[in-house]
């Protein structure tokens, strides 16, 4: 293979200077003439019927008001990534009934934010308060107040019984005879927490009605095209009159896969006010808007004496909050991640997703994978310990690798693993951390106890598969050669900040043979781009980059056809190579060095001769979804007097195929460690069971995420990449982003077991929980329920 010029080399990100000089534009920075400002009126109650809304006073103040009566009576599902038959529609632009604290029940627009705030406060709403249901098990009791009486599934009315949004059972092989073959059966319960995405930018949007009856929208979103289609459907506007523009997103971590609820509210206000309207969520509103799925998982694994897994069963209860954004998909992936970790000749999964009166749950970095991997990797570590097997050897004996079937995204998204860096990841990681020298579990007695733990995992690269399934997955791109040799890439993909669009520029530069500096990522909107489903499922480089590569190949073929004509050389004899000094590509034939032409000169010739533009547009559905593998080795030191856990060393390895931009890929691993550490040790959104309010009341200071003060020292974090090549990916690349957090919590739990001889099966593992477990281990009587602190959550998992 020829030497790569752009791919594999670290480069400045294209939006870097804009971001450090404050020039980058996010949704809340869009300023338009005649623009008004919106505020939303939220329910202070977790569950309440709306008896009446009086907007007289607000209207007297000059505000434009919006209530349920004003909005289209269209029930929608905000995440149109699942195919239509699998969409559960329970949302409207404004709620007919409040189902969680913070649910939008009315909205106003006024000339200033202050005027909008005052008008919002002047709206009088009479509620009939209903029973608040915070606990998912309580929600399923026959006498529990129904949160939704029915929803639309596809186009059909679906009654909701016992607040169960969806059930899903998946079976492969004969589970009974599978467990009958097992010499040992392990069964444990795990509880994972409900945490806030904590993206730095709150959800925001600007909407401008246009003279032709259409709208232009600048939203916080991971998919401009899905926002367009939903707004068109809800407001009955033909799609050619709905233009959704890409603006930078200040982090999302999954929270904007769906069309955010502020977007149609702002649109309705703008249409009613007949002027541009901006709606920027406050932090409190944002914290009450979305959360990671909390799960309770009962996991059972059967294993033979010689360490071969023979059967597995997972029962999962997912708390989805007040709306079903993607519960069906969540249950699919919980099963998929789990069975794609280790080969199970027989498996059974049963999942139940339950409505509660809390903020709606949605995907958050890993989408079910951090939960499934925490349970599986903690139990695998325990089985290895009990059977006196080395955990690494035990895992290597059983994992799904090269030639295995990967179906992380659920049973309809199956493909064969074609690149596998797991053995290398585990071998290198164990050498770096000193795996063989770790202490025996529970062998230490001093105040500070050291432990080393490991966990492995992966994330998918996209949701493509050979067969059409339950998930939509494809991307499109336009590649255009300009008359000076620069290149426009017109692509609807969103960049969360990980550098997806930079990777796409590198892939195009590599294919065309031009320097990456002369490839521009065009501003994007839905009028001028072809469809891209959404930046999620770690699909940016693999699927979005794949589509750009396909378009670049076609543009290159057109370019070389013209070059052959101009140079009088056979097309197959021509190559394009980047010339950094000229800042463009040069087309030539190595054996006829006197004949060459720059890409720019050729494109200009095509234009002046009226031959036409050199451009190509393509869509691509990837027919595989390769796993990007990750391994974590963590060394901790535990203060047994305070319960404080110090992260002493972390070794994170990733197999993402060809590493397109090494510096940015390392950035993904470091960010994944930080978020994974928050999930493992710190973050926990606690809800008052009586009021359905957050204990933090929406204040970040009481909903803590890791700051620089708690981060491990620089020199104690080591990252590395496996040397692999994914044959189905652009230049051998697959994903990395979400994979980086998935095994982190289990690695901490296993390290703590190594240090203390205690298993932790619930998150977060707070100092209070550590102390409670240490006291229980020492046989001391707990000093009442308070000792374990808010994270105790009963005795689950013990």
């Amino acid at each position: 293979m020829r030497e790569l010029r752009s791919i594999g080399k670290s480069a400045w990100r294209k939006d870097g200077i804009a971001k450090v000089t404050g020039a980058e534009q996010y949704a809340s920075d869009v300023l338009l003439p005649r623009m008004w400002h919106a505020r939303v009126v939220h329910s202070p109650y977790a569950h309440a019927r709306i008896i009446s809304i009086d907007t007289t006073a607000a209207e007297a103040m000059g505000a434009v008001c919006l209530t349920y009566d004003d909005v289209p009576k269209v029930r929608y599902n905000e995440r149109i990534v699942s195919t239509p038959p699998h969409l559960y529609r329970d949302r409207q632009v404004l709620a007919d009934k409040a189902r969680h604290v913070g649910e939008a029940v009315a909205a106003v627009a006024a000339p200033t934010e202050r005027a909008a705030e005052l008008a919002a406060r002047a709206i009088e709403i009479e509620y009939e308060v209903l029973e608040t249901i915070v606990d998912p098990e309580a929600a399923m009791r026959p006498d529990a107040e129904p949160i939704h009486s029915s929803v639309l599934l596809g186009g059909t009315e679906l009654p909701i019984d016992n607040n169960v949004a969806v059930n899903r059972t998946i079976e492969v092989g004969d589970i009974e005879s599978g467990f009958a073959r097992a010499d040992h059966i392990f069964e444990r319960e795990f509880h994972t927490s409900r945490i806030y995405h904590a993206q730095m930018e709150t959800k925001s949007v600007v909407c401008r009605p246009e003279a032709d009856g259409g709208i232009t929208v600048w939203p916080t979103t991971q998919s401009i095209h899905n926002v367009r289609q939903l707004l068109g459907e809800i407001f009955s506007i033909p799609l050619h009159k709905v233009n959704v523009k890409r603006v930078a997103i200040g982090g999302t971590f999954g929270s904007s896969i769906q069309m955010n609820s502020v977007i149609p509210i702002c649109t309705a206000l703008a249409l009613k006010a007949r002027r541009p309207v901006r709606l920027v969520s406050t932090r409190e509103e944002d914290i009450y808007d979305h959360t990671r799925y909390e799960t309770r998982i009962r996991l059972k694994l059967g294993v033979t004496d010689d360490g071969k897994l023979v059967a597995g069963q997972m029962e999962a209860l997912a708390d989805i909050g007040a709306h079903n954004i993607q519960a069906f998909a969540l249950l699919s992936v919980l099963a998929g991640w789990w069975v794609s970790l280790y080969e199970l000749p027989a498996m059974r999964f049963h999942g139940t997703a339950v409505y509660t009166n809390k903020a709606p749950s949605c995907a958050m970095q890993g989408f079910g994978n951090p939960q499934a991997t925490f349970a599986t990797e903690t139990l695998m570590d325990e089985i290895a310990e009990k059977l006196e097997l080395d955990a690494i050897e035990f895992k290597l004996e059983n994992y799904v690798g090269l030639g295995g079937t990967f179906w992380g995204q659920g049973p309809s998204v199956q493909s064969i693993v074609q690149s596998d860096g797991v053995p290398e990841l585990l071998r290198v990681g164990s050498d770096k951390i000193g795996w063989q020298n770790r202490p025996d579990p529970g062998s230490q007695t001093g105040r500070y106890r050291r432990g080393i733990g490991m966990a492995r995992g992966f994330h998918t690269s996209g949701a493509g598969a050979p067969k059409p399934g339950e998930v939509i997955d494809y991307s499109g791109a336009l590649v255009k050669i300009n008359e000076d040799g620069t290149v426009d890439v017109v692509h609807a993909m969103m960049d969360h900040g990980g550098g997806t669009l930079d990777a796409i520029a590198k892939i195009v530069a590599e294919e065309l043979g031009v320097p990456v500096n002369c490839v521009g990522i065009s501003p994007a909107d839905t009028l001028t781009t072809v469809y891209d489903v959404v930046t999620h499922a770690t699909r940016g480089v693999y699927a979005g980059g794949g589509a750009a590569l396909k378009a670049a190949r076609k543009a290159k073929a057109i370019l070389l056809d013209y070059a052959a004509r101009v140079l009088g050389i056979e097309v197959d004899a021509l190559v394009i190579e980047p010339d950094e000094d000229l800042c463009q590509g040069v087309i030539h034939c190595p054996s006829v060095p006197e004949r060459s032409i720059t890409v720019g000169a050729l494109a200009k010739l095509c234009q002046t001769n009226s031959w036409g533009s050199i451009a190509a547009v393509e869509s691509l559905r990837q027919v595989n979804a390769p796993p990007a593998y990750v391994s974590y080795f963590i060394e901790v030191s535990v203060d047994t007097e305070t319960g404080h856990i110090e992260t002493r060393r972390v070794v994170v390895g990733a197999d993402c195929g060809t590493v397109v931009n090494p510096a940015m890929a390392v950035g993904q691993l470091e960010g994944g460690l930080s978020k994974g550490t928050g999930y493992a040790l710190v973050e926990d959104a606690q809800w008052d069971p009586e009021t359905g309010q957050l204990a933090s009341r929406g204040y970040w200071v009481d909903a803590k995420i890791p700051s620089i003060s708690e981060s491990p020292r620089l020199e104690n974090i080591e990252t590395y990449f496996a040397d692999t090549y994914e044959p189905t990916g652009p230049y051998g690349a697959k994903g990395v982003g979400e994979a980086a957090t998935n095994p982190c919590a289990a690695a901490y739990a296993n390290a703590l077991h190594n240090a203390l001889g205690i298993r932790f099966r619930q998150l977060p593992i707070t100092p209070e929980l550590v102390l409670a477990k240490l006291r229980a281990q020492a046989g001391e009587t707990l000093l009442g329920g308070q000792t374990a602190g808010p994270a105790s959550a009963g005795s689950r998992g013990t």
Binding site: R13, G16, K19, Y26, T202, G250, I708
Partner: protein, 167 residues
């Protein structure tokens, strides 16, 4: 209620990024809102409670959360936003270091982080690791895990000492 005798409003002359701007604001208007209303949207609104540091600006060289600062209280002061530190053709060493060392992902926290780092380095040009942690502890970043931010600030401190910007 907009007359000059109105005690709840005041016309302020602020020096922002070296330019004097006049704005009429009520007593309760935060510096964050006043600046954003004037078009300085590089000052980011993250939490409006002083939890995240995204809105930090320099007031007479010292980083303050503009969401916790009333606009009236900085009358006559010199206010600097991240845009005032440098631009595309002439970046400040901190800005250059953030790009060079990949300390940016989504970029929303970046203006506040650079301002906080600037404030720390003008008081302490040779910060220890603990000094950097302390100086940036009021700024949240959800993307990077802080590793590259730490690296960029340490490298910028060296570059600024060499350039004689700090001593």
């Amino acid at each position: 209620m907009t007359s000059e005798t109105d005690m709840t409003h005041k016309t302020l002359a602020l020096e922002v990024n070296g330019r004097v701007v006049e704005t009429r604001v009520p007593a309760h208007r935060t510096l964050l809102d006043a600046l954003r209303d004037l078009g300085y949207v590089e000052v980011k609104r993250g939490c409006e409670k002083g939890d995240c540091g995204a809105c930090a600006v320099l007031v007479d060289g010292v980083a303050l959360d503009s969401c916790l600062t009333l606009a009236w209280t900085v009358e006559g002061c010199s206010v600097t936003t991240v845009t005032g530190l440098g631009n595309r053709t002439e970046m400040h060493p901190l800005q250059e270091a953030f790009v060079e060392h990949g300390a940016i992902q989504c970029g929303y926290c970046t203006p506040g982080l650079i301002i906080a780092a600037h404030s720390m380095l003008s008081e302490n040009p040779s910060p220890s690791e603990a000094d950097i942690r302390n100086g940036l502890s009021g700024n949240l970043c959800r993307c990077t895990g802080y590793t590259k931010v730490f690296d960029a600030v340490a490298k910028a401190a060296g570059a600024m000492r060499e350039a004689g910007e700090t001593s």
